[in-house]
Amino acid sequence: MAATTSMVTSLTFTIPSLGLRLPTRSYPCLKPQRRFVRKAASNVITATYELKAPPYPLNALEPHMSRETLEYHWGKHHRTYVENLNKQVVGTDLEGLSLEDIIIVTYNKGDILPAFNNAAQAWNHDFFWESMKPGGGGKPSGDLLDLIERDFGSFERFIEEFKAAAATQFGSGWAWLAYKANRLDVENAVNPWPSEKDKELVIVKSPNAVNPLVWDYFPLLTIDVWEHAYYLDFQNRRPDYISVFMEKLVSWETVNTRLEKAKARAAEREMEEERRRKEEEEGKPTNEEEDDDLEMYVDNDNDDSEAE
């Protein structure tokens, strides 16, 4: 039993900022399906992460985004990020972690570790393909529209701001609509929005591979503004690309689904917080781990506090 526990312990990370995927209170068997893909005598690099296809054929976004662009963008760029990530991760402590976990760990509060670029770009591109659909564009409705109008004044103002963020991200990067419901001040990670602005929709832009997961936001929508995303179709005319994306490609259904999930997770987190606070008040012994909220470590075989 003890052996099993410590084995589990050595695989876990205290990353409360991920909120609900890793309950902040304790880390029982965190990932029962942790994939041990490396066999002892294996000489084969097993692909831990797979290149997922976009949820539509490569020509389905024409004429707004050409098949040629998808072939290169997904078929070469995205594929290369995934392949290189697998090579970087194999045989390291990162192996078997979920993509999101790798991103948080290798972001390392801004002091980026080597696997970050490939991991984050792999995630970003999955998220990007799913943010679009054939016959997309138009306007959202329901809760999402309400929140947009509440936080940006109007849908039109939101569009203006989002387009401006995308157009002014200098060099390579991304623009995002995200749901901000983080509680923690993520030290040294340059959280772009102040803590007062909570449970709100925010627009943020990020350079290169950075994404809002590292600021503990819930991303809802993204546009890739690396030149490779638009150069074949629009050359230098990034603003035109952005307009076409907003008017013809955005899948508001997907954004809506993501928002619902984000709100649910934020609520779960709040409940966790409540419960923990109540227990502390009642003087119940709390898990030592919570004091090391922001500590990240690997292979801590000495840590027995997981044992519940």
Binding site: H77, T80, N117, F170, G171, G173, N208, W226, Y231
Partner: protein, 231 residues
């Protein structure tokens, strides 16, 4: 060229109504797109004419336009003593001014093959390269490795530290000029590795672009700069 800038200067001063009356304010210099010393298609097949035209007429021109605009706003803010605007404008000046600086060097770093493009450096620069890197091939390999590994957008440079008289290879992100990596660094040659510099022709295969660009690198210019700094 001179005519063009004086026209712009006049237009600019007319725009800033107050400047004509203030004897203390100098009129603002504006910048204009330098002509290429070769045709757009002259660097083929290493770099396509389509890329050269877009790169020069669109990208570089846009940096210049936005640089001029930022300078105009900066000029106004300085006159008004509006320090927060002065500070806020710094990134626009760095992006766009840097873009202008870097691309102006870049066009001189390239030459058609029949005009010496690709011809290896001789004299003092050739000797310095052999001494410092072992061989030209070794330098090229190092620069290509750095250029290929650069994440996102940026430049890879061969520079000289004019204090130490030493050659250096450096990369800079986005449009940061080489001097941001060290105040004594002088660029001899820079290779643009922003995707716009190669995408239409090489797509995602940046290493192929890096391999081929050496065929049109103008070592004569690099030598001139080197000799001036290390005479």
């Amino acid at each position: 060229m001179a005519l063009r800038s004086s026209v712009t200067r006049r237009t600019l001063t007319l725009g800033l109504n107050s400047t004509m009356l203030l004897p203390l304010s100098r009129s603002l210099q504006t910048f204009s797109l330098p002509d290429l010393p070769y045709d757009y298609g002259a660097l083929e097949p290493a770099i396509s004419g389509e890329i050269m035209q877009l790169h020069h007429q669109k990208h570089h021109q846009t940096y210049i336009t936005n640089y001029n605009k930022a300078l105009e706003q900066l000029h106004e803010a300085i006159q008004k003593g509006d320090s927060s605007t002065v500070v806020k404008l710094q990134s626009a000046i760095k992006f766009n001014g840097g873009g202008h600086v870097n691309h102006s060097i870049f066009w001189k770093n390239l030459a058609p093959i029949r005009e010496g493009g690709g011809e290896p450096p001789k004299a003092s620069l050739g000797w310095a390269i052999d001494t410092h890197f072992g061989s030209l091939e070794s330098l090229i390999q190092k620069m290509n490795a750095e250029g290929a590994a650069l994440q996102g957008s940026g430049w890879v440079w061969l520079g000289v530290n004019k204090e130490l008289k030493k050659l250096v290879i450096e990369t800079t992100p986005n449009q940061d000029p080489l001097v941001t990596k060290g105040p004594h660094l002088v660029p001899l040659l820079g290779i643009d590795v922003w995707e716009h510099a190669y995408y239409l022709q090489y797509k995602n295969v940046r290493p192929d672009y890096l391999k081929n660009i050496w065929k049109v690198i103008n070592w004569k210019y690099a030598s001139e700069v080197y000799e001036k700094e290390c005479a």
